[in-house]
C-alpha cells in the first residue's frame, strides 16, 4: 500500500480498451521503441565521440579511420535513422499541439516527411559511399 499526499491507493483498476491500429498508435509505440534503441545508440555516441574522443582533436583523418570499419558505418546509419525519425516525430507532435489549422498541420507534416526521407537518404548515402583513402587525400589539401 502506498500513500500519496493523503490518499491511500489500494489497487489499480484495469479497464481493457480497444486501441485503434492507426498511425498515431504506431507513432506512439515507435517513440518508446526507438527511445530504448537511442538510449544505447545516442548516449553511446555522445560518450564515445564527445567525451572519450573530443571535438578539439576531430579531423577528417579521424572520421576516415572510423569509417574504414563497416561496424562504425552501420552504427552511424542506425543512429541517423532512429535519431532523426524520433526527433522529427517529436517535433510533429509538439507542432500539432500548438497549431490548430488542419491544412497548415497537413502541409507541415508533408514537409517534415520529405525532409526526413531526404536527410536520411543524403546522409545515409554519404556514410555508405564514404571512401577513407579518398578522404585522407582530400584532407592533405588543407591545413587542420
Amino acid at each position: 500500500m502506498t500513500t500519496v499526499t493523503g490518499t491511500t491507493v489500494r489497487r489499480v483498476t484495469r479497464r481493457p480498451v480497444r486501441i485503434p491500429g492507426n498511425f498515431e498508435r504506431y507513432a506512439y509505440l515507435f517513440m518508446r521503441l526507438s527511445g530504448v534503441a537511442l538510449l544505447i545508440l545516442a548516449v553511446g555516441h555522445m560518450l564515445i565521440q564527445h567525451v572519450l574522443n573530443v571535438t578539439a582533436n576531430l579531423t577528417l583523418q579521424f572520421v576516415a579511420q572510423q569509417w574504414q570499419s563497416w561496424g562504425w558505418k552501420a552504427y552511424d546509419m542506425l543512429l541517423l535513422a532512429f535519431a532523426l525519425s524520433h526527433g522529427i516525430n517529436g517535433l510533429r507532435q509538439i507542432l500539432e499541439e500548438y497549431i490548430h489549422n488542419r491544412n497548415v498541420v497537413r502541409a507541415i507534416n508533408v514537409f517534415l516527411a520529405i525532409f526526413l526521407v531526404a536527410t536520411i537518404a543524403w546522409a545515409g548515402y554519404a556514410i555508405a559511399a564514404f571512401d577513407p583513402a579518398e578522404a585522407i587525400r582530400a584532407a592533405e589539401g588543407f591545413a587542420q
Binding site: 537511442l38 564527445h50 567525451v51 526527433g87 509538439i94 554519404a126 584532407a139
Partner: protein
C-alpha cells in the same frame, strides 16, 4: 499568432510542480537535440560530398561558443534519455503511477550525478585547447577563414 504566444507563455507559467518542469525540460531538451542533430547530420555528410567544407566546419566547431554548446547538447541528451526511460516505464506500468513525483526527482538526481563530472571534464578540455592555441601564439576566439580550406 497571439494564441500561440499565449500557449507558450502559459506553458511556462502553469504551476504543475515537478511534473510540469519535467514535461518542459523533456520538450525543450528534445527540440534542442533535434536542432543540433539536423546541423550535425548535414555537416557530417559533407565529409563525403565536400571534404573541404567539412574541414572548415570542424575547425569552426572547435570555437569556444560551439564547444560550450556541445556541453549543452550532452546535458540535453542525458536528461532526455533518462526521463524517456521513466516515461516508457510508467506508460507500460500503471501500477507505478503513484511514483510520478518520486521518479521525476530520481531522474534529476541521476542526471546531475552523471552530467556534472562529464560537463566539468568537457569544460576543462575547452580550457586546455584554448591554452594550447594561446601558447602557440594564436587565439581560441578566432573564426577559421573559409579560404584556408577551399582550394
Amino acid at each position: 499568432m497571439s494564441t500561440l504566444l499565449f500557449s507558450l507563455r502559459e506553458s511556462v507559467r502553469y504551476r504543475g510542480r515537478s511534473g510540469h518542469w519535467t514535461w518542459l525540460a523533456h520538450r525543450v531538451s528534445g527540440l534542442a537535440i533535434l536542432s543540433f542533430l539536423v546541423i550535425h547530420v548535414w555537416d557530417t555528410a559533407n565529409a563525403f560530398f565536400y571534404p573541404q567544407i567539412y574541414g572548415w566546419s570542424i575547425a569552426l566547431f572547435k570555437h569556444p561558443v560551439f564547444a560550450v554548446g556541445e556541453i549543452g547538447v550532452m546535458a540535453a541528451v542525458l536528461y532526455h534519455a533518462f526521463n524517456g526511460v521513466r516515461i516508457t516505464l510508467l506508460d507500460f506500468k500503471p501500477e507505478w503511477w503513484v511514483y510520478q513525483q518520486k521518479s521525476a526527482l530520481i531522474v534529476w538526481v541521476i542526471f546531475f550525478i552523471i552530467f556534472i563530472p562529464i560537463g566539468i571534464y568537457m569544460f576543462t578540455g575547452i580550457i586546455e585547447h584554448c591554452r594550447i592555441l594561446v601558447d602557440g601564439g594564436s587565439t581560441c576566439w578566432a573564426i577559421p577563414p573559409v579560404g584556408d580550406y577551399l582550394q
